[in-house]
Amino acid sequence: MAEITIKDIIKEENLVYKKSKVLTNNTMSYCPGCGHGTAHRLIAEVIEEMDIQSETVGVCPVGCSVLMYNFLDLDMQQAAHGRAPALATAIKRLMPEKFVFTYQGDGDLAAIGTAETIHACNRGENITIIFVNNGIYGMTGGQMAPTTLKGMPASTCPYGRDIEMMGNPLKMTELVSHLAGTYYVTRQSVHSPANVRKAKKAIRQAFENQKLKRGVSFVEIVSNCNSGWKLPPVKANEWMVENMFPFYPLGDIKVDGQLVTK
């Protein structure tokens, strides 16, 4: 048998998976196993498939994804901590024909940026908000987030989140679904191939919706933080399924401007 060369392998018919051209060639700086990388890829693929690379402006938050502009080949702005929806509001209002999205962690979106989030959602800005909820502050070394579960340890609640003292975990996604300005609100995850496919569909929907001009499309991605949770990647995903999903159940919450009744 003749030897197989690399040329024989690199053929269109053998291609099963390819890096989106909306992703740059930079190595992602996320910890191995972190959900941020997958979420970035899905956004890139959706933008590529919709062929809107030149029509899209993204806003990076402050958090582990602060360097998102290194990984997506898009025009992007980097916002102050929590303020991404305010930037996105202005971008969209001044260039209504563009696709505008923010990408925010739970500290960014649901703590310091609560006002901007609520008001952009309430005004019904025609933007897409991707909300990565890993229940902790990854970037700064694992402090408690507004979404940290009851009893879950973090560096600012080393004995576990005490509800009496620190209040309840905040279900921001349910909250914004009750605002008239949101059109599509959904909660997804990216920890298994099936969930990745669903999450991608949701992100696609969230970007398509911008054409309708009916308000905010809000996609929460429940994700992991191996480093902050101090768990190896596989364990982290198991922990997420067992603990995060019961409190943050996956699925659509609002579709076409209507709350989904379960």
């Binding site: 929590g82 703590a111 310091i112 502050y137 700064t140 070394g141 402090q143 560096s155 080393p158 003292m165």
Partner: protein, 361 residues
Amino acid sequence: MEKELRLMKGNEAVAEAAIRSGADAYFGYPITPQSEVIEYLMAQEPHKRTGMVVLQAESEVAAINMIYGAAACGKMAMTSSSSPGISLKQEGISYIAGAELPCLIMNCVRGGPGLGTIQPAQSDYFQSTKGGGHGDYRLVVLAPASVQEMYDFVEIGFDLAFKYRNPVMILADGIIGQMMEKVEIGPQKVRRTMEEVIKQCPWGTTGKPTTRERNIITSLDLVASRQEAFNLKLVKKYDEIKEKEVKYELINCDDAEYIIVAYGSSARLSMKAMDLLRAKGIKTGIVRPITLFPFPSKVLFDLADRVKGFLTVEMSTGQMVEDVRLAVQFKKPVEHYGRVGGVIPSPEEIVNALEQKIIGG
């Protein structure tokens, strides 16, 4: 009693000192390089140790306004953050100064502007010493150069804050916050009782008894002439602070021909440079301002008569140098040397700068 010595990070020392000085509350929001303050407090559970309230706020804006609320009740409250977070607090700090409330704020400075870097810097000197927020006000600014001073300045800072009913800032940086040194820990002070709080702060909004008029905490006065009178009252207060509270350290200044002016971690770097310069036969001394407001102008003015020149060393593009120039009043040359953006000047660079800019210049 044997003194208790511990090896601690500057940020941890601030937190322990807050508990030990009998503080009533800490409110903060995580940010590098000072998140250890709230992490240490949460691990120590001061609500069990002394009844002190510690809360992770949803933002720096919320944290500083929690401080306003606590301080307006006469409580001893402190917060800490790093540069971007301190910028967010400026509105609240202005209101606190405008309402003449005591509180303590620690800024563990990192390089800016904007999100900048998380590495150490001293680029918030202007913001700290010239007001920072809107309106005509000043903070008392203490610049620790060691972990021991991080510890000590908490109690000193609270004392000054209550003495003058004015916000006090501890202006540290990533080096002082992150490094560990030996700290002598003081005894636990008992937190004031409510009666003591009312006695010390009769102006506090602690509930109106029948025996006094109601207490209102506000920074608003729509009558211009009254607002002007208030501004002038503040000026009088700041003048008194300038007269009584200036603190600095003189290192080898007696025979010095050249003076390095440096505060905080820059003073530490400069001490090494001074040793190198003296080894070369260049008689160098250091003036280390400990209070940045009030600034030790007089000692610099006097030194200018007998030294040949001044070099300020700051991790900024040149901020304190303006105050040194004002103090020296063109009697002798004053130059600046600094590295910025989180880069730390090496002692050798400081030596070169003094040789080239002052001796050669």
